[in-house]
């Protein structure tokens, strides 16, 4: 028996969300009194793989060949499912990243395993039951899902579980690809990554702005504030609908759900659909010129004021704070 974690890489490096998945899977393995096995697909350096031992991976399987250099959903799912069988994994953990969301359901079907997509806490394992808490109703609620199948799959929401160091020596072993020819029907033509931007779904800090900003030309101060903090930028739906900002920045019930440590909302009224996407933020700051804006009701800190006056002052204050630190 074992617990298996899929360790997703981006251009050969593991992201924080991958380490979160490893830490989460390690805790599950400890609870089940078993080993943690990691599976890596694509080109990752041996030293990078060995690093996974720091977070408790007892064994690291790696599959690396030319055809698997870029993400191929079907092929990756085949490999992870066969690793789960070979290692007799009772639980398979992945990050609920964009790729993870495409993989987990296919693996679930291959293994006839129950799946919890978007877990936010460790499973509860009492009286032989296996219950996992997940987001539901787009952040307006949580659901506790009981998995009754023999094998279980969990995908973990980025930034909802802490990275914990539990050093062991990881045994690194090559794993034979089991992907079939028919798994390679799609072809990746191009990958475009803005390297200087913090990615929104797994950001720890988010600076978000709404229609109160009046127009796209005013986003300079939002970006400046975000850069200063190392935060991702986000927006409300009308802002992306109007083309002021790209769609992938739209947060809310019909956009991205975020769970950062800090969410700063500037000139956003706090409509129910927007709040749904930000309710798992640990700390919420609201800056709005209308003291009656509904967003203040769910905020931890609030400033009533004109964004065009408050934000530049805030930038100044953060700059001073950074210099002092």
């Amino acid at each position: 028996m074992s617990v298996l974690v899929y360790v997703e890489n981006a251009e050969g490096k593991f992201k924080k969300s991958t380490f979160e998945a490893v830490s989460y899977a390690k805790e599950v393995a400890d609870k089940l009194n078993t080993n943690l096995v990691a599976i890596s697909i694509g080109n990752v350096a041996d030293a990078t793989l060995a690093d996974l031992g720091k977070y408790g991976a007892n064994k690291v399987l790696f599959v690396s060949n030319e055809k698997l250099k870029t993400f191929v959903n079907q092929a990756y799912a085949s490999i992870i499912a066969s690793a789960a069988k070979t290692e007799d994994a009772k639980v398979v953990v992945l990050s609920a990243s964009f790729s993870g969301k495409g993989l987990a359901p296919r693996i679930a079907v291959k293994l006839e395993a129950g799946l919890v997509d978007g877990a936010v806490e460790l499973p509860e394992m009492t009286d032989g039951k296996f219950n996992v808490k997940k987001n539901a109703f787009s952040g307006k609620a949580f659901a506790h899902v009981e998995l009754t199948s023999d094998r279980k799959i969990i995908s973990l929401v980025p930034n909802s579980y802490k990275v914990v160091e539990k050093p062991v020596t990881a045994e690194i072993t090559a794993f034979e690809s089991t992907a079939a020819e028919s798994d390679f029907q799609v072809m990746v033509r191009e990958i475009v990554r803005a390297s200087d931007k913090v990615s929104l779904p797994d950001a720890e800090l988010v600076v978000s702005a709404g229609r109160g900003l009046k127009g796209p030309e005013n986003w300079g101060m939002i970006e400046e504030l975000a850069n200063l903090l190392g935060a991702a930028t986000a927006c409300s739906k009308p802002v992306s609908d109007a083309g002021w900002r790209p769609h992938e920045e739209h947060v809310g019930q019909t956009g991205i759900a975020v769970s950062p440590n800090l969410y700063i909302a500037i000139g956003i009224s706090g409509a129910i659909q927007h709040l749904a996407g930000v309710s798992s933020s640990k700390v919420i700051v609201v800056i709005n010129k209308d003291a009656e804006a509904p967003f203040f009701k769910v905020a931890d800190y609030g400033i009533v004021g004109d964004a065009f006056e408050v934000v530049p002052k805030l930038i100044e204050a953060i700059r001073k704070f950074k210099e002092a630190a």
Binding site: A108, F142, I191, S199, A317
Partner: protein, 245 residues
């Protein structure tokens, strides 16, 4: 080209979510139902791609008879016909299995879903159907263009996008960017009443997961107001009190 669009019936986005029976059942009292917003985007793209006699759009829903107004709305928007699989959508595995069977029987070239349903947020159905049918599944896509026999798709990745080509048949889950939702016009609403809507019975499958309880997010403490003239106080609070910067 034959396109199948999977639509789910979900509470209106303004719905306040509450539960009954000791937090085990979603409280449907007074709730308005709509087509899942992402499915509307998928449907709009399907209609665009089939315009001018280029193909037909079928919508499929796994649901009880109460979902028919939602299905009729999809027909009013422009789908050619509809199939309802007569069952409560127990979980994604169950739903995907039913849809896979319909898709197989109808040999569709393209199957579209929404990126996730805004009720249970599984984002599972598309990739599960793909696996049941052993066809490519591309999740969370922002653009779909058809170029002869190949389809070019842009999918979202962290901090960017990936451009992929796939042969047909395939399945994709659609996010914003794919199309603008379409509003039904009068002619659409009139014709929706007479467009074919067939009802089929589900196939039984084993249960692998079940929701045992719901919970609503804990209320936040009272908001601390900070003077607009002194944002340095906010920085101080975020650092020493909230410990987030």
């Amino acid at each position: 080209m034959k396109v199948l669009v999977c639509i789910s019936n979900v509470p209106d986005t303004t719905t306040k979510i509450t539960f009954t029976d000791n937090n085990t059942q979603f409280n449907t009292a007074g709730v308005q139902y709509i087509i899942n917003p992402y499915d509307e985007i998928a449907l709009a793209r399907a209609i665009e791609l089939c315009e001018g006699g280029n193909g037909t759009v079928t919508v499929v829903n796994v649901g009880e008879a109460t979902t028919e107004p939602t299905i009729r709305k999809a027909l009013a928007i422009g789908a050619d016909d509809a199939i309802r699989i007569n069952a409560a959508p127990r979980d994604a595995y169950f739903v995907a299995k039913q849809i896979a069977k319909i898709a197989q029987e109808g040999s569709y070239d393209m199957i579209l879903t929404g990126r996730e349903s805004i009720d249970y947020n599984g984002s599972q159905v598309a990739a599960m159907v793909g696996e049941f049918l052993n066809i490519p599944s591309i999740s969370i896509v922002k653009k779909i263009t058809v170029d002869g026999e190949t389809v070019v798709i842009e999918r979202e990745i962290e901090g960017g996008k990936e451009v992929i080509s796939t042969p047909m048949p395939f399945i994709s889950s659609c996010a914003e960017g794919v199309a603008e939702p379409k509003i039904p016009n009068m002619r659409g609403i009139m014709s929706a009443r007479t467009k074919p809507l067939s009802v089929v019975e589900p196939i039984e499958i084993a249960k692998l997961a079940q929701v045992t309880a719901y919970e609503t997010p804990a209320a936040r403490g009272n908001v601390k107001m900070i003077d607009a003239a002194d944002p340095a106080k906010l920085v101080e609070a975020l650092h020493s009190e909230a410990k987030v910067i």
